[in-house]
């Protein structure tokens, strides 16, 4: 029995082996290759459905940049994606799998919207500040729940944060159909539009969220790289035991980091509701919390890279909206292309870390 197993395994001519340090330059080249391969594969998909890949890709880029309004719309798509990607990065750095950005965005938006709906008579900047802080508190507390149970009982955070998303989504529906329903909507379920006093200001024609996003990028970069907290996060991610030995309190660090992670996502919710939607819609998160996880991961949890990746994603998203009018292709095309690109990059990552080795060569044991 054992002998046949050995025989079978020897038949395999190729095996996988870990690479030695590959070097930043080679890693960048490998990633570039996988992105090019992805774009080619996406092109093949476009070709397969009977369109010219060059003109479709051209339309996407044009759709995202051609006019000032198009570019503003692209940035508008980018704002919540960038901010929530930064949020989940904090948790991921600690190897805490926060799949709950979606829910944290929503709760941040709910907390902020309370002030916009019921205290809109406050002076503008005071009101905006209160809403901003409320967004932080809302998202932060919602992030704290799974962290608390993980720290206390070891509850699986991937599944817990996932479930919390749907609870949060239904809280909006609850508010929309009940206490916060717009009396003037004529029975149509929605929450009232925020009065101008409760809307975010615009800078260069785009809501101020883009400045908040850039500031947060810098802050998260500094926080992770140059502060004691950032260092503690990296130690905890490696080993709780090591952290304890070094006199750190891993549970405290976990709670603090998850509060911050949720808080940043909460800001994304506040900014989306008050700056773009001008109301609290059930689509306030709209899948951004999930896409953010992919963006953060693609960017290797590096804040500056997140800025770039989230911008590219937004170009694809916004540019694809033009495809409907130009080619009669639905905007879902963007999701398909996103998926294909990601699959290739995911596979490409393998070659950064591992290599295929012909067996028989280094096989001693």
């Amino acid at each position: 029995m054992a002998e046949t197993a050995v025989k079978k395994q020897n038949k395999f001519r190729v095996r996988i082996s870990k690479r030695a340090e590959i070097g930043t330059k080679n890693a960048v080249i490998l990633r570039a290759v996988s992105i090019v391969a992805a774009i080619v594969a996406g092109g093949l998909f476009i070709l397969a459905i009977g369109y010219n890949p060059f003109s479709v890709y051209g339309t996407i880029v044009k759709g995202a940049f051609s006019t000032q309004m198009a570019f503003q719309a692209t940035v508008k798509v980018m704002i919540p994606l960038l901010i929530s990607s930064l949020g989940v990065t904090l948790a991921f750095k600690m190897k805490f799998w926060n799949i709950g950005a979606e829910g944290q965005i929503i709760v941040g938006a709910i907390f902020a919207s309370y002030w916009a709906l019921f205290h809109s008579e406050l002076p503008h900047y005071l009101l905006i500040t209160i809403m901003f802080v409320s967004g932080i508190i809302g998202g932060g507390l919602y992030g704290l729940i799974p962290a608390f149970f993980k720290a206390k009982f070891g509850t699986n955070e991937t599944l817990f944060t996932l479930v919390l998303n749907y609870i949060a989504l239904n809280v909006i529906v609850w508010l929309r159909d009940g206490a916060w329903a717009d009396p003037e909507s004529g029975g149509f379920p929605k929450i009232a539009r925020f009065v101008p006093n409760a809307q975010l200001d615009k800078v260069f024609g785009i809501q101020v969220g883009w400045i908040i996003g850039i500031i947060l990028t810098v802050l998260v970069f500094i926080y992770l790289k140059y502060t004691k907290h950032g260092y503690e996060i990296s130690v905890v991610s490696e080993s709780h035991a090591t952290a304890r030995y070094a006199g750190m309190n891993p549970k405290k660090i976990m709670l603090r980091t998850m509060f911050l992670s949720g808080a940043v996502c909460g800001i994304a919710g506040m900014v989306q509701a008050t700056g773009s939607d001008m109301t609290l819609a059930t689509s306030v998160a709209g899948g951004v919390g999930f896409t953010a996880i992919i963006v953060a991961w693609l960017a290797q949890l590096e804040p500056i890279a997140i800025l770039i990746v989230s911008f590219l994603f937004s170009v694809l998203e916004k540019g694809s909206s033009v495809m409907q009018s130009t080619f009669g292709l639905s905007t879902y095309c963007a999701d398909v292309l996103q998926g294909i690109i990601l699959f290739f990059v995911l596979a490409g990552e393998f070659f950064v870390r591992y290599k295929f080795v012909l067996s028989g060569k280094e096989r001693e044991n």
Binding site: M1, A5, K18, F153
Partner: protein, 318 residues
């Protein structure tokens, strides 16, 4: 009483897509893979099943197409996570985005090219999808309606759940799979072919999810193609795996309970208690969260996720 029976029947109908998704995900997790792509695999199955039925006017082909396309979607996942050892969470999420996008895309693509501006399943199939009348059995009062008044998918779902249960707990291959999920290195050491087993089981799991998707597009939407027909069922299925404690048999009861929650709002007599609809929609998730917390407090061995779930297996790091 009639109301109550109607409620139970509606719960079964609403819970069935969840049963497929949950059983599929249980197999995946038993293989050590937390696959967050259930929603995407179901969406792809929904599209393939519907389109096959639409084109070829055959229910058997539709179900086969749903299974195969779900398995094909799972193949992408398996290739990336088993062979290329990519992060399971990210791969699963990507599969969901890709699968939902592709499904909706193909749907819209066919709609714009159809003469009528919508896609409707041929009458032959819709009639086959109505509840099957079993002579004698279906005519028994109460019991007949409760147990023998359903469409083919429901019996198929229960049969698959029972077969998977037997497979996982009584057969050698199934026990081997569970070993892989708990400790792949140990499984490898005793001569179990870890990689091959993971591939086969992930594909089967994906195929089962695909059939669940076909239920959404072909039955829930009444035979007319609609975008996003899966509509979060895949995510609920992932949550339901926890509720069902990784057992396909408990998944049958679990999907019935979750199905009941989702239709409860239509059947709860308003005179007794009035709660907002959102509360009913939230209930399954609140209960899942509670179960997660309670099982982690109790550290109940029988109700835990397979130990290697989420971690890719790399032979050289044994």
């Amino acid at each position: 009483m009639d109301m109550f029976i109607n409620f139970l029947v509606a719960a079964v109908l609403a819970g069935t897509p969840l049963l497929f998704g949950t059983v599929g995900e249980i197999i995946d997790q038993k293989a050590g893979h937390l696959n967050l792509g259930v929603e995407g695999m179901m969406a792809i199955g929904a599209c393939a099943g519907f389109m096959a039925g639409y084109r070829f006017d055959s229910l058997a082909l539709a179900i086969a197409a749903a299974f195969l396309s779900g398995a094909a979607a799972a193949l992408i996942y398996a290739l990336l996570t088993v062979t290329f050892m990519a992060d399971q969470n990210v791969t699963g999420l990507t599969l969901t985005i890709f699968g939902c996008g592709l499904s909706n895309f193909i749907g819209e693509y066919n709609i714009t090219r159809s003469a009528t501006g919508n896609l409707k399943l041929p009458e032959n199939i819709t009639s086959q999808l109505r509840s099957i009348h079993i002579p004698v059995l279906s005519d028994i009062p109460v019991v007949g309606k409760l147990l023998f008044s359903y469409n083919i998918f429901i019996y198929l779902g229960v049969a698959i759940a029972v077969i998977v249960f037997i497979y996982l707990s009584k057969t050698k291959t199934g026990l081997n799979l569970r070993t892989i999920g708990e400790n792949p290195a140990a499984a490898d050491a005793v001569g179990i072919h870890v990689v091959r087993s993971k591939y086969i089981n992930l594909l089967i799991g994906g195929g089962i999810c695909g059939i669940g998707g076909a239920y959404c597009s072909m039955i829930i939407c009444g035979g007319v193609w609609m975008s996003d027909s899966v509509n979060g069922m895949g995510w609920i299925s992932v949550a339901l795996v926890i509720f069902a404690a990784w057992s396909p048999l408990k998944a049958i009861g679990g999907s019935l309970v979750f199905g009941a929650f989702s239709v409860l709002k239509y059947y709860m007599p308003k005179s007794i208690i009035t709660l907002p609809n959102a509360f009913y929609d939230m209930l399954p998730f609140i209960i899942t969260a509670l179960i997660l917390v309670i099982t982690s407090i109790k550290k109940n061995k029988g109700r835990m996720q397979p130990a290697s779930c989420g971690i890719n297996y790399f032979r050289e790091e044994r």
